[in-house]
Each structure stands twice: as structure tokens, then as C-alpha cells.
Subunit: 188 residues, 4 copies
DNA sequence: GATGAATGAGGCTTCATTCAT
DNA sequence: AATGAATGAAGCCTCATTCAT
């Protein structure tokens, strides 16, 4: 693994546990087994490192989630697949989840950062589709998107808190139904 | 205003903008117009200050929200009132909201902190009531609680992003319906 | 001696020997017997410290030189007194001289820094007087000033190089004559 | 241009603006368009680079100045030619001038460096000649030399400060007269 | 000769906290 | 209670120099 990647991995692990303010760059380098200075060769600033990591994670989550959706799936199936993929990816990568949560709630974060991200584009299109087909509530697509994101977070937090539910497929389906009911029109 | 309170107000404002790692205690004291040292007379530690602020905010939010609910309200009315109170309070106190979000997503935060909080107790009881009365989905009360909290956050974020919607009562009702649909049983 | 002054003294000594780039702030603090941090309490930046020292030195040199000139002296006597005072002050404070030379030839230095300095004002007035009275050559007063400054430097350097001449009043008079001849009109 | 020379040119330009402490070797290499490491192939040390540049400059200045003096010139003519050549060379190469000033006033500099330099030898001989012929004041030749050097510097600084005087031959003659009067015996 | 990644010591500065007054 | 000078550990980052290729 090249040093750049190595540094990102190490940083993510440390950030998740100690937060980025609680993690000296020196420690990242040390635990990555590289010199102090090389970190700044790849990332001119600690902030750059943090941003790079965030965008990288978003990318990976996006690629993973979309790869799960199969052609010809109904809208609900697609949404379900995406939701589940996101939830499971976060459960399997708790460090990533913690890091992202922390980042998104820090002053470093600005929405601008991700507006252009492919995964935002795709989600919005999907949301718009559901609205146009009268499956979703008649609200802005961005709201649908944000609601789904929020519900993913809620699910992840809950499943992490009560580990015994993590393998319970039936329970996860119920979690999804809550999210779905939030955005979809109530059938009579 | 006594110095203790003054410090908390100043700290909140600065924390909201710069984060707590970006806000030196010296700056808090300076902008509060008090001496550097006195801060540590009232709060032995920066961490103590932060925790105190957090619990204080929760208290105020709790008192405010519950004071809005009137006797004899139906369950949905109560939930609605609480939801709306929380949303509006957060909109009117954006610094508080930012501070809390930041805190809850930092390594400082542990759930233990608030378990005992009156507002958690009350919310859980309300959730349980809805479940028992077969109005809510048959899921743990903690899940209902967390979902509602998440939906409040989503609403606040959205309303802040699109300021023109903040005065639109109709729109806020729709937001509430999303939250309600998430936790309630679907009527056929 | 208060810590601020103590730091300036120590800094000057170290700067003279090692240059300011060769002198860590930590070393200044250490040799001054104070804590590392206090330096930045008095001087927010190493650069501020350096500038402060420079202006302070100029002040002291100015006060010292002018205090030597007596009322009713002729122009030549005044110039001589000032020249001698400057030369001797620099000889007695070699660290100061080295520091100033270094500073004036570093990128830190800008003429703006001292334009407003009382000592510049006074020197220019004196120069103008000599020009008006047809004692000095008919050149701009700033040129007279700069020439005298340069001749002081030359004298100091020479006297430092050949220590045996430092006590030789006769020799110093010859040095002054060189400076005087440079700026004054040649008597036929 | 070979890389060695290229590096020296780039270094000089950067040094003049930012000083040598403000100019990382990495930046020199980058702006010269060569690799980081190659600099240390040609100059084992940053200090070696700096010294090499200084001596190189002195050489060039020497060669240029002496080439201007013609056979059979009187002493004053020779001095004038040398003075003017030095002044004009410095005006045309301001970076070089800044670099030299900075170097000569830094802890890197020691007189030893140039004692052996041809240009010092020649200047001293010329000075001695003037003294022996009773044209110059009866002072050590080294003093004459240093005075002339100082007057060159003063002239250059002044002409740079007031650019409109740079083309004024008449004015430059007056500048030279000041220098000449400093070292020469006053004709009655 | 040439590249540029890699090293690691060390510099400047910050800042929570303490303490004399 | 109040002040603000003082402490010193620690953080981020720089940069001359080395080294593998």
C-alpha cells in the first residue's frame, strides 16, 4: 500500500477514536510507520488531509451503494437497496461513519464540498423520479434526499447501540419501512 | 448578567462559529469582557464548561417544549406540539443548534450524559404510550424517540437552508407529516 | 528588570552573534530565564520582537546623540558632536550595531519604518540648514543625511577592525574630517 | 544555460526578494525547473551555494570595473571610472546588490573570504598610490578603500530611491565629488 | 547526472491551566 | 471574587539534506 493511502487509513482510524483535534499529525505518521514530514508531502495541511479523506469516503460509499442496485429494479427496490447498502457499509466501517459524522458537524464542513458529488446528483434524480411518479410526497427532491440521509443515520446509530439487532433482517426491514413511510405517499 | 452566565453565552456564540477546538478559553474570556483567569474559577476545565453548556441547553429546550403542550391534547397533537416547539426553538437559536450538533458528534459526548435527563424520560414515555395504543409502529420506544429526534434535525437543517420556507406553516405541516408517517402505523 | 526588557536584551545579544534566523525564540526565552510562552505574550510574533527592538535602539541612539549637542554650537560642532556620539555609542554597543546592520539589510526592513522617527526629522533639518547657509554642497538634504549615516558606519567598522585606533582621538578627528569633506563645500 | 548556472541565477533572484532564510532550497530548484535533489549535487550545502554566489558576483564586478579603466588614465580618472562602473553595475543588477548587502551583513560573512580577492588587492594598491603621491589624505589605505566602498553603496541606495536621478550624469558627478572629497586632500 | 519521495530535527506559535497579587 | 502575567507541553508545519531508482 502506498504511503498516501496508508496515511489515510491510519488517520481515519485515529480520527474515529480521538477526533481530529485529538489526533496529532505526528501520531498519524508514527502509527503509519512513516516519517513525520512525508505527511505534508502528500497533504499540504492537516485540513487538506481531512477533506481528502471525507471526499474519498463519500466516493467509496457511492461506488459501493450504486453497484448493488440492479437494472430493472422498481423504485422502491432501488431505494431499499441503496438504503441497505449504506446502512451496512456504515456498520462495517464504524470508523468511517464516526469520522463522517464528526466532519459534517464541524466548522470544516460546507455543503459546497459535495454538491458536485456524483452521489448527490444520482440521489436527487431518484428522488425526483419518485415525486414525478406520484410515489413520493409532493415535496422538493432535496428534502426527500435529506430525509433519507437522516434515516440512514438514525438506523445506523440504533443498530450500533443494540448490536443484537444487527443480524435481524426482519428488524432492518422495519427500519426501512419507517424511512419509506416518511417519504412516500400513504396508500389510502 | 452574572459572569458565569456571561461566559456561557459568549462561549456558545464562539463555539457555534469556530467550533470548540477553534475557540481558546482566552478568547471567550476576552469577548465576555472578563479576565482570563476567572473562567477557571467557574469552570475548572474547558470540558466542564462545554458539558455544562450542553446540559443547560437541553434543559432550556425541554422546559420550553413541554410548556407548549396543553393538557388534554391527543397523542398526535402532543407530538406535533413538541416537534414544532423543538424545530422553532432551534431555528431561533441557531448557535445553540450548531453547538449541540457539534457536541453530540464529538468524542466528548456519551449517551450516559443524558439518559437521566427529564426530557428523555418524558419522550420515551410518550413513545411507549403511542406504541401501546397501537398508533405507532411496533418497535422499541427508543427507536421512536431517536427517529423523532432525527426528523427534528432534518427539518431544522432544511428550513435553515431554504429560509423562505421558514414562515410557511403549510410547509412545516408537511414536514411534520413525514416525521409522523415514519413512526405511526399506516392507516390502511 | 521586567521580563519584556529582559527578553529584548537577551534577544539582542543572541541576534548579534547568531543572526535572527539563527536564534530560536525558545533559546531567547531560555537564556532570559523565562518561560517559552511569555515571549509571545509581549511580542505576538518573532517579527514584532525584531521590529520593536530596532525601533527601541533607534530611539536610544537618538536620545543619546542629541543630548550631547549643546545650545549655541556652530553647525560643524553640532554635526561633529552627533557624529562622534553615534560612533562611540555603536562602539560601546557592538551587539546593537550588528543587530541594526543586519536588520537594515534584511527583507524585514523598509524605509517606511523610520521615516516618522524623530531622529530622521532632526537630521534632515540640520542638513537643510547647512545647505541653506551654503556650508554644505548644493545637494538634497536626504543625500547629506544618507552620506553622514554611511560615514558613521564606515568609521565604526574601521575602528572595530583596528581596535588600537579606538582610543586615538586624533585619528577619530581625521575620520570625521573625511565625512565632513564629503558633505561640505570645499573652501577654495 | 547549464543547471549549475541556472540554479545560481534563480537563487539570486529569490534571495534578493525573500532573503536567504526566506528562500528554501526546494523553491530554488522548483523555480529553476530542475529537481529538488540536483541542487545538492552541485552545491553540497546551501551555505556553499551562497558563498559561491557571492564570490562569483565579486568576480564579475571586478572584471567589469577594471575592464573600464584605460591605460594612461590619471589617478582621479581611474578612481572615477571604477566608482562609476561599480555604481552602474549595481544599478543594473539590483538583485545582486541586495544579495551582497544582505550577505555582507549576515553571520555567514567574514572578511577572510575576500582578503585574497584580486579586486581588494588592486583597490588597496590604488589607494596606496594616492596616499604616496600626496593626493589622498594621510590615512591607511584600507580606510581609503572602505570609505570608497561605503560611498559606492550610499550612491547606489540613493539613486535607487530617486529613480529620476539615475540618468542624470551631472548629478552622478556630484555624487562622485562627495566621495572624492572624502578621501582626497583638500586643495587649499 | 537527474529525479522526487522520504527523513526527522527543530522552529514558531498556541493554549489550557496555574498562580501571585 | 478577580485579574492577567506566567508556565510549559504540545501541535503544525518547514526545510536542509539523503537516498532509492
Amino acid at each position: 500500500m502506498d504511503k498516501r493511502t496508508l496515511l489515510m487509513h491510519t488517520a481515519k482510524r485515529l480520527f474515529a477514536v480521538n477526533g481530529f483535534y485529538g489526533t496529532p499529525t505526528a501520531r498519524i505518521a508514527k502509527e503509519a510507520g512513516v516519517s513525520n514530514g512525508i505527511l505534508f508531502h502528500y497533504f499540504p495541511t492537516k485540513e487538506v488531509l481531512i477533506n481528502a479523506m471525507y471526499l474519498d469516503l463519500k466516493d467509496r460509499l457511492f461506488v459501493y451503494s450504486t453497484s448493488q442496485v440492479y437494472k430493472g429494479a422498481t423504485l422502491k427496490e432501488s431505494i431499499y437497496t441503496l438504503w441497505l447498502a449504506a446502512v451496512e457499509w456504515n456498520l462495517e466501517n464504524p470508523d468511517d461513519f464516526d469520522f463522517m459524522q464528526q466532519f459534517e458537524n464541524s466548522p470544516y464542513y460546507s455543503l459546497e464540498l459535495e454538491k458536485s458529488h456524483g452521489y448527490v446528483q444520482m440521489s436527487l434524480e431518484l428522488a425526483q423520479k419518485g415525486i414525478d411518479e406520484d410515489i413520493f410526497k409532493q415535496v422538493p427532491s432535496t428534502l426527500v434526499f435529506q430525509t433519507m440521509s437522516g434515516m440512514v443515520e438514525t438506523a445506523v446509530r440504533y443498530l450500533r447501540l443494540f448490536k443484537e439487532t444487527q443480524e435481524d433482517t426482519e428488524f432492518k426491514n422495519r427500519l426501512f419501512e419507517m424511512a419509506w413511510d416518511a417519504i412516500s405517499k400513504n396508500k389510502i
